[in-house]
């Protein structure tokens, strides 16, 4: 039975034909189960947000005006880049280029730190303007969605640290752990994409 790493590489190279229905997942299926469950939970948060928004769209619109679109976009670009770097890490590890892979994941971590730093800066700016969690419905959701997302990013730091630890030593270097960590990080990324759209940009 071919290892998942070999299968994905050969699929990429086009040397293995795809059996209908069959496939390979990135990393542990267990992590995918968790990702899907989290998607369900966040979907409920997003839907509740939209329902509250439609109860008072004017309020939400006026409050949203206080948000810095620039910081939101900056955060999004950082997140997308970090995800890209993580995908490159997985690919490098697959090709056994562990030095490069290690560098990619450290860069991913750096992006993550920058993301959190920007977020905290943004929150403190809003707080100084007197816009706190209990200011109005919009701000409940703003702080809650960005806050719970930051918690996921912080957990992601632990996950990425495990990946770094794996790549550093020749005795470890489990491809599955690297891929599992990547799966978690990509989840954090696409959840942010939706939060950005719903909280910053939609009108």
């Amino acid at each position: 039975m071919t290892s998942p790493a070999a299968s994905i590489s050969s699929r990429e190279a086009g040397t293995v034909a795809r059996r209908p229905g069959a496939g390979v997942v990135l990393g542990e299926p267990d992590m995918w189960a968790f990702v899907l469950f989290e998607c369900l939970i966040f979907a409920s948060y997003f839907i509740i947000y939209m329902l509250y928004r439609m109860a008072d769209p004017e309020l939400f619109l006026r409050s949203q005006e206080h948000l810095s679109q620039d910081l939101g976009v900056a955060n999004t670009l950082i997140m997308l880049t970090s995800s890209w770097l993580m995908a490159r890490c997985v690919q490098a590890a697959r090709e056994k280029k562990f030095e490069i892979a290690s560098r990619q994941v450290v860069l991913t971590l750096t992006c993550g730190v920058a993301f959190v730093a920007l977020k905290v800066t943004e929150w403190s700016m809003k707080l100084r303007e007197g816009l706190g969690f209990s200011t109005n419905e919009f701000f409940w959701f703003y702080y809650f969605l960005t806050g719970i997302h930051v918690l996921h990013v912080l957990i992601g730091f632990v996950v990425l640290a495990v990946v770094v630890h794996q790549l550093r030593s020749p005795e470890r270097r489990s491809q599955e752990i690297v891929e599992t960590g990547a799966t978690y990080w990509h989840m954090v990324d696409f959840l942010w994409v939706m939060i950005f759209a719903l909280v910053y940009v939609m009108r």
Binding site: G21, L26, Y52, M54, W84, E95, F196, M202, R203
Partner: protein
């Protein structure tokens, strides 16, 4: 690195960045005088978000190589979520403001 894969990943990243900048431009270009509610902008923004999520899931998370069940599940979740959000937005469904 396998240059095919490397260039594909870079292309996906560039597309994501460009599309983000487009949705940022859409959301802000009308905002100089009035920050107004706008259905076309919301539709565009949410659909773009769906496209971005799908790209991340397909390419970065390598779901293009995953079993059909997972591919359908992830596409389905993205589609259902965006449809639900747009439906709530369009029909102004709301939570009894408790």
């Amino acid at each position: 690195m396998g240059t095919n894969v490397e260039s594909r990943l870079r292309a996906v990243w560039l597309a994501l960045v460009v599309v983000t900048l487009i949705s940022w431009w859409i959301g802000s270009s009308h905002g100089h005088q009035e920050f107004r509610s706008s259905a076309p902008i919301t539709y565009a923004v949410l659909l773009i978000a769906a496209v971005k999520m799908r790209m991340i899931v397909r390419h970065f998370m390598e779901v293009r190589h995953a079993p059909d069940a997972l591919r359908r599940l992830t596409d389905g979740w993205i589609a259902l979520l965006v449809i639900a959000l747009l439906a709530i937005y369009s029909f102004k469904l709301s939570m009894p403001a408790v």
